[in-house]
């Protein structure tokens, strides 16, 4: 008998008494009762609590703000689907960082990613109550590795994509896509439960919320 059959038989034998399947009571909150402004305020509060840097930026000001954040940076990586106009202010400036585009045709190697200073991505959605930003590998967010290896992650999020509670985000996300949920920069509390921001993941997380 294969291990699979063996285990299946053990399980069925263990359940000989046919325990009943309870109806799951879903009385918890599954939709938001907040206004857009309240959600935005809550998300900012949570992100700041996690020691992320937060910038509220009107859509038209994104290129200038991005150029400002990246001043003095020598190279960045972006996913191929990142809106081109966001990077438009980087090109004219002599001190602008070199921009590497990661695409299905030209995937950056681990060593190349390790050499860049920052990554700029979009985001799929965000949960204000928990301060969580979700990446789902869409073209404006790219492969999981590009938002992991560089030491600084600049994440751009549309205010319209902010939901309040986790169930709302779960309903928006496609399970089959590879996902990374991010709640602040990497952190550890393994030594005397004292929180330290910045371990293996990007040690700096900048979140630009497009208003």
């Amino acid at each position: 008998m294969s291990a699979r059959e063996d285990i299946m038989n053990r399980i069925k034998s263990a359940l000989r008494d046919a325990p009943e399947t309870p109806v799951v009571p879903r009385a918890y909150r599954r939709s938001s009762t907040m206004s857009d402004a309240q959600r935005l305020e809550q998300l900012v509060d949570r992100l700041v609590d996690y020691k992320a840097n937060v910038f509220l930026t009107p859509a038209a000001d994104v290129p200038a703000k991005l150029a400002e954040l990246l001043a003095g940076t020598s190279s960045i990586v972006v996913p191929h689907g990142l809106p081109q106009e966001w990077l438009s202010a980087l090109k004219d400036d002599a001190g602008a960082p070199a921009v590497h585009v990661d695409s299905p045709e030209r995937r950056l190697t681990v060593a190349e990613l390790d050499a860049v200073d920052a990554v700029v991505t979009g985001a799929a959605t965000a949960v204000s109550e928990t301060g969580t930003i979700m990446l789902d590998g869409s073209d404006d967010q790219g492969r999981r590795i590009i938002s992991l290896v560089p030491d600084r992650h600049i994440c751009l999020l549309h205010a319209a994509d902010i939901v309040e509670v986790l169930p709302e985000a779960i309903a928006r996300l496609e399970a089959s896509r590879p996902q990374t949920w991010i709640s602040g920069p990497s952190a550890t509390s393994d030594i005397e439960l004292e929180r330290v921001e910045g371990v293996h993941g990007p040690r700096t997380l900048d979140v630009m919320i497009l208003t």
Binding site: L15, Y28, G131, W181, S186, T188, E192
Partner: protein
């Protein structure tokens, strides 16, 4: 597929590996209690995390609703486990993942070893995983000439110190900063000799130590927090980014997951990803959660394996009074609130799974007859703090009592001569199963007064009761019992006056 079982019932098949205590709990506890550094570290850590948990739980108006949902989802999972496993398997496989089944620790270790050998590698990076600790994977791989590097900071500390984890969430909870610094200075091949004991500096040292390993690793081994049956998705919840490194960079990913880790649907994650972070680290959300479904072309490992582990889980499932222990999501809230764990630490439990949940899970998985594990269900004062803290409402005290019953019955069947406890319980049964028996016994109370002597306290009792008088006196009993007073002196309606006491010295 039907869940109805038509074949011959199989006897429970118990698990093996690091879930068998080799020393009885009272004995191990005595040693750990004597370690004052450990007591101080543990007290600080459990109190800190307990307070954080209470704070973030109080934030949510629907916490109890979430616990009720979580508990029901897990009960439903166990009731339909065969069908859900098949559904998960079909979905995970359809997306290019490969599933292996392991009856026990040995089989799981062999499967993982063979998969690593196929890649030609002799090094793997690891994400903290309870399942691989349970089966003793690291030790097995070492025997096979494969080096497994733990990448979670606490696991790294424990591995570098050749120690064992003492807590399932913060495995190095028993070490303080200066101890960690000493371990790093001693064990890291390249380390700044001026390393201070600031946690930020220590974390930085770990980053440098592991960075090259991550960037060059070809094979990673992980556990999984949840497997979602209707989509075939796996989930790893973490903080440091070491999990993301292991799950994203290598070419081959081997995940070991207990068969009970499933949730029926993708949307069930909305309950568990709220319950888990708040219960475990006391955070609104953990910094990183990774989700993957089989293989994603061009993104992450292209060889994705999953080892489905039994190792005694089906034995736990077969126990109708104990099976809800399998609902555990390994948050560790129960140990952080446990007054016993707080004083003994995790090592006293002798298993990968310490604390209140370990005291039921380990004997359920190994069988109560596993000699030293039979002492685990007694490692509790039944105060009930664990049940209140459990995000999936496992009634740990009730299962502890159930397993004590199993232990008593199994020993009764085995031993010809009754133990001291057996005799005490038999005697008490006689006294307590009749008012007149108890009355008869209570007529002897003045004898106790005699034993107590002039200072009206009893300071030493023989045999098993000597455990009590080790640190506690017993007041001299009163001259007569309540029922004797009631029969002789009580006049209905005439209020009894507490000041006019009939007893001497009954208050300690």
């Amino acid at each position: 597929m039907s869940n109805t079982f038509l074949g011959m019932p199989t006897l429970p098949v118990f698990g093996q590996g690091n879930i068998n205590a080799t020393e009885s709990f009272p004995q191990a506890a005595r040693r750990e209690l004597a370690n004052t550094q450990l007591r101080a570290n543990l007290g600080h850590a459990t109190h800190t995390i307990r307070d954080k948990r209470l704070k973030v739980v109080a934030e949510l108006p629907d916490w109890e609703d979430m616990r009720n949902a979580g508990s029901a989802i897990k009960d439903a999972t166990m009731a339909n486990l065969p069908a859900l496993l098949e559904q998960f398997e079909a979905n995970f496989t359809a997306r290019g993942g490969i599933i292996h089944w392991a009856r026990d620790a040995q089989e799981a270790n062999e499967i993982v070893t063979a998969l690593i050998r196929e890649t030609g590698e002799t090094e793997v990076v690891k994400v903290k995983s309870m399942a691989t600790q349970e089966i003793g994977l690291n030790e097995y791989l070492e025997e096979q000439g494969i080096a497994a590097y733990e990448t979670d900071l606490a696991e790294l500390i424990v591995q570098l110190d050749h120690d064992k984890p003492s807590h399932i969430l913060v495995p190095a909870i028993h070490k303080n900063r200066s101890q960690v610094r000493e371990i790093f200075l001693r064990e890291m091949p390249v380390v700044d000799p001026n390393l201070t004991d600031e946690p930020a500096r220590l974390a930085e040292a770990a980053r440098k130590h592991l960075r090259k390993k991550f960037l060059s690793a070809k094979v990673a081994v992980s556990g999984a927090n949840f497997g979602l049956a209707d989509t075939g998705t796996l989930t790893v919840v973490e903080s440091e980014g070491n999990g993301r490194m292991c799950l994203t960079l290598p070419e081959t990913l081997i995940t070991v997951m207990g068969i009970e880790k499933l949730l029926p649907t993708w949307s069930d994650l909305e309950v568990f990803m709220q319950l888990l972070p708040r219960s475990s680290t006391g955070e609104r959300m953990n910094p990183y959660t990774s989700l993957w479904t089989g293989v994603t072309p061009g993104d992450g490992p292209q060889n994705v394996h999953l080892v489905m582990l039994d190792n005694g889980r089906t034995a736990a499932l077969a126990d109708e009074y104990g099976r809800t222990a399998l609902n555990c999501i390994r948050c560790s809230a129960c140990m952080n609130v446990c007054p016993v764990y707080e004083r003994t630490g995790g090592h006293a439990y002798g298993s990968t799974y310490p604390g209140p949940i370990g005291a039921i899970l380990s004997p359920l998985m190994t069988g109560i007859k596993s000699e030293e594990n039979s002492s685990l269900p007694y490692a509790s004062s039944l105060c009930g703090a664990c049940f209140d803290a459990c995000p999936v409402k496992i009634n740990i005290p009730e299962i502890l009592v159930h397993l004590r019953g199993e232990d008593v019955d199994s020993k009764r069947a085995k031993l010809k001569v009754p133990t001291q406890m057996d005799l005490m319980m038999k005697g008490a049964q006689w006294a307590f199963s009749s008012g007149s028996h108890l009355n008869l016994l209570e007529k002897g109370l003045p004898l106790g007064k005699l034993v107590a002597g002039r200072d009206k306290v009893i300071k030493k009792l023989p045999g098993i009761a000597g455990g009590w008088t080790q640190s506690r006196n017993i007041p001299a009993p009163p001259s007569q019992s309540f029922r004797q007073w009631w029969d002789k002196e009580h006049k209905p309606g005439a209020a009894v006056v507490p000041g006019t006491t009939i007893n001497e010295g009954e208050q300690a």
